[in-house]
Amino acid sequence: MKYDSLAEFFNMGGYALYVWGSFGVTALLMIAEPLMLRQRRRAVVQRIRRLVRLKSENPS
């Protein structure tokens, strides 16, 4: 193992703020983006389902 302890790993040779600040925010964004996209998809699928139901209930 490169690091002698877990604490040393998190310390990143004194660069903890900068390394974790970079990787942390990147991870946050790359998790948030797909989640927000899923919300958006759910919303549009729900709207279309409603449209389909309305059409099947009163066919013109």
């Binding site: 990143m12 990787f23 983006e33």
Partner: protein, 249 residues
């Protein structure tokens, strides 16, 4: 021979592209997850400590892939914008629109990790140097494109206006890329270039490439999932949409 030719225009129809995009996106998601796991492991446990920057340099493994993606996604968007203007295909504009938020996020990551790297190494979060400033302009181009699309209610007009904005903004990409050569910048020159190869150690370069392909797969997956949503939003009244299996009550 002719049987091997593919009718590419067939895929420019949203109805045919929708299921295909779903399939490619699923594969890309799997690739992204695997490559991110390998890439992160290499970033922290395989790549050695840098002799000058200690552990601080590990930011490079997200900074450079994100910066590359920020420029590459913009070029792909501009390509789709041009295709949309020339062939008047609806799907082209949807592709450009689907890529924009991911491109903006990649640009933000490049700027953010750049600041978090600049602070310990240069002593400043931000400097108005050519590389940083032109990358910031790229971020504003993405935001401007998204805002413009949102501000015009007629989809076709929004597509055309957005396409022109994208094509004009392309001029910024070579400026970003060559900024470290053209001007005397605080930002270091390219560590990896097509002509000169790499000035990094092999394992560092390999780690960066794995992360780059991971970001690539991520961007493909997210953009294709988003284009599917955009297709649904725009074609919600179409018959083929109402006949999709996911629309059954």
């Amino acid at each position: 021979m002719s049987s091997r030719l593919i009718n590419w225009f067939k895929f420019s129809s949203p109805a045919t592209f929708y299921p295909l995009a779903g399939k490619i996106a699923r594969v890309a998601t799997a690739i992204a997850v695997v490559l991110l796991a390998i890439g992160l492991y290499m970033s922290f446990f395989v790549a050695p400590t840098d002799y000058k920057q200690g552990e601080g340099y590990r930011i490079i493994f997200i900074h450079v892939p994100a910066a590359w993606m920020s420029m590459f996604i913009y070029l792909v968007m501009a390509f789709w914008a041009a295709m949309g203007l020339v062939f008047n295909t609806r799907l082209s504009a949807m592709m450009a629109q689907a890529l924009a938020p991911t491109g903006a996020i990649m640009t933000f990551i490049a700027l953010w990790t750049g600041a978090f790297w600049g602070k310990p190494m240069w002593g400043a979060w931000w400097v108005w140097d050519a590389r940083l400033t032109s990358e910031l302009i790229l971020f504003f181009l993405y935001i401007g494109f998204i805002a413009l699309q949102g501000a015009i209610s007629d989809a076709r007009r929004a597509d055309r206006a957005g396409a022109i904005l994208l094509l004009v903004g392309v001029v910024n990409i070579p400026i970003i890329y060559y900024s470290v050569k053209w001007w005397n910048t605080l930002h270091q020159g390219a560590s990896v270039s097509l002509r000169n190869g790499s000035s990094m150690s092999a394992i560092m370069l390999e780690t960066m490439l794995v992360m780059t392909f991971a970001f690539w797969a991520y961007a493909i997956a997210v953009a294709l999932y988003r284009v599917r949503v955009i297709i649904l939003e725009r074609e919600k009244d179409a018959r083929w949409v109402s006949e999709l299996p996911e629309m059954r009550p």
